[in-house]
Amino acid sequence: MRKPIGVLALQGDVREHRATFERLGVETIEVKHASQLNEIRGLVLPGGESTVIEKLSKIYGLFEPIREAIANGLPAFGTCAGLIMLANKIEDAIAGQEGFGGLDAVVRRNAFGHQVDSFEADLAFSGIEGSVHAAFIRAPLIESVGVGVEVVSSLPGGGIVGVRQGNLLGISFHPEVTGEDRIHALFDDMCA
């Protein structure tokens, strides 16, 4: 039987990610323990607060296992806080903050300012026809990427907001809150 996709369920918009996959007919489980990493074919790192997700994953012995699983090729998809957790380098981090890493990119937290600057926009996304409707909520921005990282989405005025590197997909925004299911479908295809 095909394994489900896991959604890291320490804090954040876990429910919206699961609902998006459910609309696509893709089975998911909530991941709260390291042992569950063997039971999934891909891992979603949801939106939320990156500082909180990092702390809780360390307290519960998930941090190193997730880092290793990603390094060993487990496909991972990060949205917003999840993108921050995937980045090899975080700008405007709190002291000592680190992510799972794996994605050769520099990501800036809260790059657009305060909540009053949060916005919705239509974007082009590589591999998806037409535009995707995106919600940026206190969102991060991808400042630079290494070789081997493909930019899959940018803001109309410039600014990288979506990247792919092998099995890793990271985006600044939340397709899971706008009813945009196609990026999740794309990730499902990445998880053999």
Binding site: E49, H114, Q115, R138, P156
Partner: protein, 301 residues
């Protein structure tokens, strides 16, 4: 609605206002009165902080009129942390809300913990780009706040008591009223809307989906990890902790423990482990010992 559009992008929409609350789910929002406390809260894993001048227990003890906090103090807290910062405006005081929006707080709590500025009207929250959270003791009150533009609801409980009984009552009431609504026939929803004193369209939406259209946190009296887990097991999306942390013997450890309990609310072994070694809980006051006119949950209509 206060939306602004430019270059095909929109700010201040319902989606981004409600969306921020979605990102806070499963988290703990802590009351703080200084930048130092805000930093402790962030380091302990708070998902956001509520900046205010006095925690509810002190407002209750000291009496007097409780108002919006000093802008300098709010600035200091915004400067100190990277997580969202919320601040309270008095019920109906739309100018305090304008000031908080200008200070660029991430969320405004139109709160019964402060002295109301208007005993008839709440703030018209659609006029703002910044999202609002409002308190509610029952479903009708929650739906009226959403109608006015609230992007997040918290059950009220009884702030500043450390007595969780009112929080339990309010989250149970809201949940059971939603279940009752979901079981009604379509033609019974007209009377349901009348009884809830809320708009029919919104009542029908809740009946169809079986949930509020915004995130529902709980507040007012949460003082221990077990209290936080109780709220989560009763269906809350997350927890506000006010006086419970910084009025306790060991705020750092208690803050961490409440964060863990909110994540692992369904795991009694973890709850047992995090409930150890926390020192004194806030002393607290039984809600039944508070004369009715001094109960904060009755503010708001």
């Amino acid at each position: 609605m206060s939306e602004t559009q430019s270059n095909n992008s929109v700010t201040g929409s319902s989606l981004v206002k409600r969306g921020l609350a979605e990102m806070l789910k499963g988290g703990v929002i802590m009351d703080v009165v200084t930048p130092e406390q805000a930093k402790i809260a962030e380091d302990a894993g708070a998902v956001a902080v509520m900046a205010l001048e006095r925690v509810p227990a002190d407002i209750r003890a000291q009496g007097g009129v409780a108002r919006m906090s000093d802008p300098d103090m709010i600035d200091g807290i915004i400067e100190a942390v990277s997580i969202p910062v919320m601040a309270k405006a008095r019920i109906g005081h739309f100018v305090e809300a304008q000031i908080l929006e200008a200070l660029k707080v991430d969320y405004i709590d139109e709160s019964e913990v402060l002295s109301p500025a208007d005993y008839v009207n709440h703030i018209d929250k659609w006029k703002f780009k910044v999202p609002f959270v409002c308190g509610a003791t029952n479903l009708g009150e929650a739906l009226r706040r959403i109608t006015e533009g609230a992007a997040m609801i918290r059950s009220k409980g009884e702030a500043g008591t450390g007595d969780v009984s009112e929080a339990t009552k309010h989250i149970r009431t809201i949940s059971s009223e939603i279940r009752a609504l979901a079981s009604k026939n379509e033609d019974e929803l007209y009377v349901a809307a009348k009884e809830l004193q809320a708009p029919f369209e919104l009542v029908r939406e809740v009946a169809r989906t079986g949930k509020l259209p915004v995130v529902l946190f709980t507040a007012g009296g949460v003082a221990t990890p077990a209290d936080a887990a109780l709220m989560m097991q009763l269906g809350a999306d997350g927890v506000f902790v006010g006086s419970g942390i910084f009025k306790s013997g060991n705020p750092i450890e208690r803050a961490k423990a409440i964060v863990k309990a909110t994540t692992f609310y369904n795991d009694p072994e973890i709850l047992a482990q995090v409930s150890r070694g926390l020192g004194e809980a806030m002393v607290g006051i039984n809600v039944n010992d508070i004369p009715a006119p001094h109960r904060l949950a009755d503010r708001g209509w």
